[in-house]
Symmetry: C2
Subunit: 420 residues, 2 copies
C-alpha cells in the first residue's frame, strides 16, 4: 500500500509565536512539498527556546521522513537552531573554517568590521552538510536523525525561498521512500458560497476519499484542492487531473483559474496578452484595486494611470461625475459607479475601466445604505455594466478586500465570459 | 518562583497545513494572550485529522494551563474538532437541543432549508460549555482536560475575534494560576538595521534576560518586544515599562510608535488630529500608499483624492510634470519626485503630498538605475524634501512595500520630527 512521504515543518522565533509576525515560510514550504508529492502533517511555531526545539525534533523525527526548520540561524544569542539540532542528534557543534572565512570576506567587501557574534553562524552540528545561502550571512545545514532528514534554513523568506529550490527540493527527491505517489491539483472559484460547493461535492470531501477534495473560502474566493494517492506519482497525477477536470466542468460558471490563485494576476495576464489598456476609479477601496493590478510584473504595458476619488468633489473634478447625479443618487449608487467607470475610461484613454464605490465603514451608513453596500462599475469599449454587492457584517478591511475581488472578477468576465 | 500561565494554540485545516492560506488566528490569539499575561509556548497547524488532533490535545494538556483550538467547527465531514476533543476527554458527543433549535431558526430567518449536515454543529463533547457565536453558525465550546482549559473557537477570524474577547479572555482570567506575573511592552522603529539594534542591546536579548528584549525586522520596520517576569502582574508591568522607556530614549531617532505597529495608522492619527489634508502621487507602488492610508477608519476627513501616475504621460497630464524634466532626469529622479509631490499637493489642494517613483522590477533597470532604486518626495506647506532609497535584491513586491513604508515615514517626520 502506498504512502506519501511525510514532512513536518518547524518555524522558530519569539516574534512568530508571540504573534508579532506571521510565519509565511511554512505555507510556502508546504505548497512546494505538495508539488513534490510530499504530505505535510503539521507546522509548528516555537519561540527561541533551545530545550523545546530539541525535544520537538526528537519527537517528530521518528514519525516523519523529513523535518524542515526555518529561522534561528542568525548571529544573536536567541538563534538556537544549530544548538538544538546538535543536541537532538547527540553531536557537538563544530566551527566550519571555510564558512568562517567566507563570512569574514563578506564583511570585508562591505567594509564593515566582523562582529565576533557572527562567528556563531559558522558553527554546525558535527557531520552536518552546510547549505549555501547566497542571499545572506546564515548558511543552512542538513543532517539525519535516524531515517529522518532534518534541514535547517534561514528565516527571512528572500533567503529561504532560493535555498528551498536549490538545496531542499533535490535532497527531498533523493530522500523520498520508494513507490509512494501523491499528487495535487487546484481550482480557484469566485462567486460561489463555500457551503453550496461542499454540499455538491459530498463524499469526495470525506477524509478517506481518494481523490480527496478540500475547499477554503478567503475574501470571497474558494480555493479547491484535489489530492490523489496511487501506487506511483504518474498514476496519482492522472487521477488528480481527471477529477479536477470533472470539477472544472461542473463548476464552470465560477472557475477563474486552475493554476493561479490570485485573481489580479489572472486578469493581468489576459490584459497583457490582448494589450487591453486598463484603469480604475476607486472610492472606498482607496487605491487597493490599482495596487493589486500593479502587483502584476510588466503591467505598465497596459496600465498608465488610475484614480482614487474618495470625496464627491474629487469624483466630479477628476472624472467629470455630474454633481446632480451625486446629489440625486448618492455616491454609492449604480449611476455613480457607471459614471466613474466611463469617466476613468475617457480620461485614461483605456478600453477597460473598473470602478468601486461603497460604504466600507465603520461610519457612513444611512437608513437605506448599510455598511458593506458596494456598487461596482465596468466600462469596456463603451459598454457599461454595474453590479451591487452587500458585504454585510465584515468590517472595513474585509469590505475593501471583497470589493476588490468582485471588481477584478467583473473585469475578467468582460474578457473571459463565464456562462451562468 | 513566578511562572506565567502557559497556553498552546492549535489551528486546524487542510488548507492551512497545506499552505493554501495563512493562519492569522494564532497570531491574534498570541498577542491578546500576552496582554493578559499568558505565555504562548507554541502554535501548531494541523490538517483536518481527527486522530492527530486527539493525540495532540492529549499531549499538550498536561504541560499547559490552556489550549485554544481554532477551526474545524463547520458543518462538513472534515470538521473534526468536536470529535477529537470528546475523544481526548474520554466523553461522548451529545446533541444540544437549544443550539439545534437556534440553528434551525437562523436558517428559517434566511429563508433557506436547514441542511442535515448542519446538525453536526449542535454536537458538543458531553459536559462542555457552549460558547455563543453571534457572527456565524458554529458555536464554540470549553471543557477541561485535567487542569487544562480547552477552548474551541471557529476558524473565520470575523467569528473568532469577537468570541476571543467575549468568551475566551474572561475564562482565561478565571483560569490563571495564582501569583504569576508576565508583562510585555512594544516599540516600533523605522530606519535602523536589525543588526545595529541587536548589537546595542547586547545581553538584554539573551534568552534568560529579564526583561528580555526581542526584535524582528519586517518591511524595514523593527518590532521590538520587552518582556518582563516578576512575582506579580503589577511588578512585571512596572519592570517592562521602565525598560521600554529606556529603549525609547536610546533609540529616539527611530521610534515612531509604542502602541501601533502600523505606520499608516500612526500617520493617519496625526493627520486626523491636526486636520491636515493629504494626497499621494504614486508611480511604482501603483496605489499601495493610498490604499494603506485609506485603511485608516475616518481618513476621509483629510483624504479627498490620490493619483496613480504610472506612465510618464500620466505624470505630465495629471500632475503637470514638465516633459523636459522627465526627459532630462528620467522618471526615477529627485527632480520628478519633487514635481510629483508639488503637482499632487496643488491639484488636490492638500497641505501634505507624498510621492514615490522607483524601479520595482523585474524590468526597467538601466546602467545607473538598478531595480530597487526609489525616489521619495514630500511637499508640506510648499516645502519640498526628496530622499533616495536603494532597496536592492528584494524583488518587486518587497521594493513596493519598502517604498510605501519609507514614504509613510517621510510624511510622519514632517509632522513629528525626530532628531537624527
Amino acid at each position: 500500500v502506498t504512502r506519501a512521504p511525510r514532512a513536518a515543518l518547524i518555524a522558530t522565533g519569539d516574534e512568530l509565536v508571540g504573534g508579532a509576525f506571521v510565519d509565511t515560510n511554512s505555507g510556502a514550504l508546504a505548497r512546494r512539498l505538495a508539488q513534490c508529492g510530499w504530505e505535510t502533517t503539521r507546522c509548528i511555531v516555537l519561540g527561541d527556546d533551545e530545550d523545546l526545539l530539541t525535544a520537538t525534533l526528537r519527537e517528530l523525527a521518528p514519525a516523519h521522513d523529513a523535518v524542515v526548520i526555518t529561522g534561528g540561524l542568525g548571529p544573536t544569542l536567541d538563534d538556537v537552531t544549530r544548538h538544538a539540532a546538535a543536541r537532538a542528534a547527540g553531536v557537538e557543534l563544530a566551527l566550519d573554517a571555510r564558512v568562517l572565512a567566507e563570512l569574514q570576506a563578506l564583511f570585508a567587501t562591505r567594509q564593515r568590521p566582523f562582529p565576533p557574534s557572527n562567528e556563531r553562524q559558522a558553527l554546525f552540528p558535527a557531520g552536518a552538510e552546510v547549505l549555501a545561502n547566497p542571499q545572506g550571512t546564515a548558511p543552512g545545514f542538513a543532517l539525519t536523525l535516524g531515517a529522518c532528514l532534518v534541514c535547517a534554513l534561514p528565516g527571512p523568506p528572500r533567503e529561504m525561498l532560493p535555498m528551498l529550490e536549490r538545496e531542499l527540493v533535490p535532497r527531498l527527491a533523493r530522500h523520498r521512500p520508494p513507490s509512494s505517489g501523491l499528487a495535487q491539483r487546484a481550482l480557484y472559484l469566485v462567486g460561489l458560497p463555500e457551503g453550496v460547493f461542499a454540499e455538491q461535492c459530498g463524499a469526495a470531501m470525506r477524509r478517506d476519499a481518494n481523490p480527496l477534495v478540500g475547499v477554503t473560502a478567503k475574501n470571497s474566493v474558494l480555493s479547491v484542492s484535489v489530492r490523489a494517492r496511487a501506487a506511483s506519482v504518474p498514476e496519482a497525477e492522472a487521477l488528480a487531473e481527471r477529477h479536477a477536470d470533472e470539477l472544472a466542468r461542473r463548476f464552470h460558471a465560477h472557475v477563474y483559474s486552475r493554476d493561479e490563485p490570485d485573481l489580479a494576476q489572472v486578469l493581468g495576464r489576459e490584459l497583457l496578452a490582448r494589450r487591453i489598456a486598463v484603469t480604475c476609479a476607486e472610492s472606498c477601496t482607496g487605491g487597493l484595486l490599482a495596487a493589486r493590478l500593479t502587483q502584476v510584473a510588466g503591467i505598465s504595458a497596459v496600465f498608465e494611470r488610475s484614480f482614487v476619488t474618495y470625496a464627491d468633489r474629487a469624483k466630479t473634478e477628476e472624472l467629470g461625475v455630474d454633481p446632480a447625479l451625486l446629489a440625486r443618487h448618492g455616491a454609492v449608487s449604480a449611476e455613480v459607479a457607471a459614471a466613474l467607470a466611463l469617466g476613468a475610461a475617457r480620461r485614461a484613454g483605456a478600453r477597460l475601466a473598473l470602478s468601486i464605490t461603497g460604504i466600507a465603514g465603520p461610519a457612513g451608513a444611512t437608513a437605506d445604505k448599510p455598511v458593506g453596500l458596494v456598487w461596482l462599475g465596468r466600462a469596456f469599449d463603451g459598454a457599461v455594466v454595474t453590479e451591487q454587492r452587500r458585504f454585510l457584517a465584515l468590517g472595513r478591511d474585509l469590505v475593501r478586500e471583497f470589493a476588490v475581488t468582485a471588481a477584478l472578477d467583473l473585469g475578467l468576465r468582460a474578457l473571459v465570459p463565464r456562462p451562468h
